[in-house]
């Protein structure tokens, strides 16, 4: 019961703040609303008993990436009043199509997972030899998901090297 109340409160907050991100006229206000959205999503993870993910969500998104967003927005937006849209209908067809595709995808996922959970009771994954949220996540990352994990780290390394090469042309 309490969980349901918390879930719906958080959902309303997340959606409201997310709408604020796109509707705010001032870019800095958008970024602040984005931070709040990420914090509420982290709270949602806590409700799902994924404490490690919640904390990482705050650390990486709210504490790291969005600070850089804010940094850039502040530098770009100096002394200029917020821009008004020239033509409110520009790209509206494209945007509507994109939003529709997204909605279809979400609906598909919901229907698929609902059917799946109704028809087959998913067997619990092979019991991991460790206890606790963090340990279990680490265990899975280094056993079942080793290759995706390593690929992701290589990708991040490439992105980092690329950014440095682009920024410093005379190495």
């Amino acid at each position: 019961m309490a969980e349901t109340i918390v879930f719906y409160t958080l959902s309303v907050l997340i959606l409201g703040l997310a709408i604020l991100v796109v509707t705010a006229k001032n870019a800095v206000h958008s970024v602040v609303a984005l931070v709040m959205t990420f914090l509420c999503v982290a709270a949602l993870y806590v409700v799902l008993e994924a404490e490690f993910l919640a904390v990482i969500q705050i650390l990486v998104y709210a504490g790291g990436i969005v600070v850089l967003y804010l940094f850039v927005v502040m530098l770009v937006n100096l002394g200029r009043s917020p821009e008004e849209h020239q033509d409110p209908r520009r790209l509206s067809v494209f945007g509507l199509g994109l939003a529709g595709a997204m909605l279809l995808e979400v609906a598909g996922i919901v229907v698929y997972s609902y059917n799946r959970s109704a028809s087959t009771v998913t067997a619990p994954a092979a019991a991991s030899p460790v206890q606790g949220n963090t340990q279990e996540l680490g265990w899975l990352l280094y056993t079942d998901y080793l290759i995706p994990f390593e690929l992701a780290s290589v990708l991040l390394l490439v992105a980092m090297v690329g950014a440095i090469v682009l920024a410093k042309r005379d190495l």
């Binding site: 504490g63 600070v67 502040m74 530098l75 949220n133």
Partner: protein, 332 residues
Amino acid sequence: MLDTVFWPLVKIVVLLNAVMISVTFMTLLERKVIAWAQSRLGPMRVGPYGVLQAFADPIKLMTKEDITPANADKMMFTLAPILSLVPAFVVFAVIPFGDDPLYYVADINVGLLFLISVTSIGVYGIILAGWASNSKYPLLAGLRASAQLISYEIAVTMTLVSVILTAGTLSMVEIVEAQRETGWWIGFIQPVAFVLVLIGGLAETNRAPFDMPEAEQELTGGFHTEYSGMRFGLFFLAEYANMIVISAVVVVLFWGGWLRPFPSVGALALLDYIPSWIWMFSKMFLVLYLFIWIRATLPRYRYDQLMRIGWKVLIPIAIANVVITAVVKVLL
């Protein structure tokens, strides 16, 4: 109901008030210690030896006029001090001040990570204060602050990984328990990590010699130039609360938290009669004194020096420390 809601609430109220009172006395201590370091007397007028200065300062701040600049972004200008204060107070929830559950609000299994991530939110207060003031110097200070905090956060977090590897847990309570079981404070096993966290902690709390975001002489006070009265007081409170947090973290991670000195020597068991929280508070006091001592002693770094130390010295050492710790941990 009583155990899950009432007692934690009582603890939170007591803790927050204790933090605020200790902050007021920290400011007095800082003024006194710096005065002694400079052969002065420091505050002497209010009360015997100026002791009541600790109460005179907050009263002055609260009764001052609260000014919002005409061209400031009203909402963000109001929000910024709150955003910097709240994270500083929230992290006290996971700090264990003694061996009994009575002395901490919560023992969560990702305690240390919670602490790192919540303190990383505090930077928004500083950046937004600089931006919302709509003034040159606060904006420059806000940009410097964000660059500095992001750089040093990487080094500190990397260093904490080696501490987590040594202790084998993320829970603050269990980190201290691990030190009791092995009989070695982690500070003796990881001296490099201790120095790194101390330097990074000074930088993250904007303390001298890394008080670049404030830099009275060149930025006229930094990001809080346009703030007056109690809103300035909130920034002040946040900075000192952060100092107390850092001192508690250093003590819990490296110097055995609430444990007595030499926890493995049976002959000193007599010291166990002293309550655990007294050990914790004395050790925290020593670290806070060290912070003030450093401020009275060292000159401020130049901005480029500060960034160079962060990226080219601290981060490589932190990464090397993690690798060495991991190798040793696997071999042993």
